[in-house]
């Protein structure tokens, strides 16, 4: 089952890039830096919009305005985060593949989070035109906020499930 996924992991782990990161004495922190810098932009700009929809924080801008202004760097952050994330994964792909916390994070939580985020981002233009965000908009914001919190939780739990902590 999922034989091709495992074969992919084995292939990734043996690519010259993955091998050179693993063997390098300095590259690993910079790969982590890439992942975390991207996440700061991605997770940050996701939750500022979620919180604004929920009516938490300052109300200097409507959720519609905020969603529009954050859009570009939101997705730039996403691209930076997955680049760093893929490189981190690549150096121990088969180990991550077997890890239940990693599987939950990448296979369930992140796909749901991305789909929900796209919906929230699109709908915020309507829900957030005025300060009176409808209940469905507040709920969507809350759920998205909690989803990204759970993604971070799954990530933090990866080493606890790993026989070979990385």
């Amino acid at each position: 089952m999922h034989g091709w996924l495992f074969a992919f992991c084995r292939w990734v782990e043996n690519t010259p890039l993955a091998v050179s990161i693993l063997e390098s004495s300095w590259a690993y922190p910079y790969v982590q830096l890439t992942h975390f810098t991207g996440l700061s932009l991605w997770v940050g700009t996701n939750v500022y919009l979620d919180l604004r929809l929920m009516g938490v924080g300052k109300k200097r801008q409507t959720a519609a305005q905020l969603g529009e202004e954050l859009f570009t760097w939101n997705w730039i952050g996403f691209c930076i985060a997955i680049t760093g994330g893929f490189l981190l994964f690549s150096i121990a792909a088969m180990t991550y593949y077997r890890n239940p916390a990693f599987r939950t994070k990448l296979g369930i939580l992140i796909p749901i989070g991305i789909v929900l985020h796209i919906v929230v981002q699109r709908k915020a233009r309507i829900w957030g035109q005025t300060d009176n965000v409808p209940a469905i908009g507040k709920l969507a914001g809350l759920i998205e906020f909690l989803l990204w919190l759970s993604v971070v939780t799954a990530a933090v739990l990866i080493p606890y499930f790993s026989a070979d902590p990385s």
Binding site: L33, S40, L41, V43, G44, T45, V47, K58, L149, V156
Partner: protein, 161 residues
């Protein structure tokens, strides 16, 4: 003196309890990461706005007013959760120069965020944002990224944390 304080911290029952349970230790880590994302995202975004690279249709003053609370809420939660995790291994950090450097860079980043926040209204005068603003925005942006690098360097280079 400081060594005795660190030893006391490390043996404090609350610090020991918080860090020895998987649940509370994980919560501390989640809060640390999540609040850092919130703080860094907001400060970097305001810096990008001052540089004219983000949200050009909104005045920098307004972008700053909307986002800056998250810098300080995120920063406070990150410092609090970070302190509680540091305390569990306090004596190991006593002579850990990478950790000392991390704390210094994080402090510098906070100072720069405050400099930017205090001056945004003054810098944001039509028709253009002052050149000085762009200088401080670049410095702030680079120091915040440097702070993340120092953060990942502590476990990567010293094996503590």
């Amino acid at each position: 003196m400081i060594e005795r304080l660190f030893v006391w911290l490390q043996h404090n029952w609350l610090i020991v309890a918080l860090n020895s349970s998987v649940v509370s230790a994980s919560i501390l880590e989640v809060v640390h990461y999540f609040s850092i994302f919130m703080a860094v995202g907001a400060t970097v975004f305001v810096d990008l706005r001052l540089l004219g690279l983000a949200a050009r249709r909104q005045p920098a003053t307004q972008v700053n007013a909307q986002l800056f609370p998250w810098v300080w809420i995120g920063f406070s939660l990150a410092v609090l959760s970070g302190f509680l995790m540091f305390a569990a291994d306090a004596t190991e950090y006593l002579h850990n120069s990478v950790f000392h450097r991390k704390v210094e860079v994080v402090f510098l980043a906070a100072v720069l965020a405050a400099v930017v926040q205090v001056n945004v209204a003054k810098w944001d005068r039509p028709p253009a944002i002052a050149g000085r603003a762009k200088f401080w925005a670049v410095v702030s942006l680079l120091v915040w990224v440097w702070a993340i690098l120092m953060g990942v360097n502590v476990p990567a280079l010293t094996g503590v944390g």
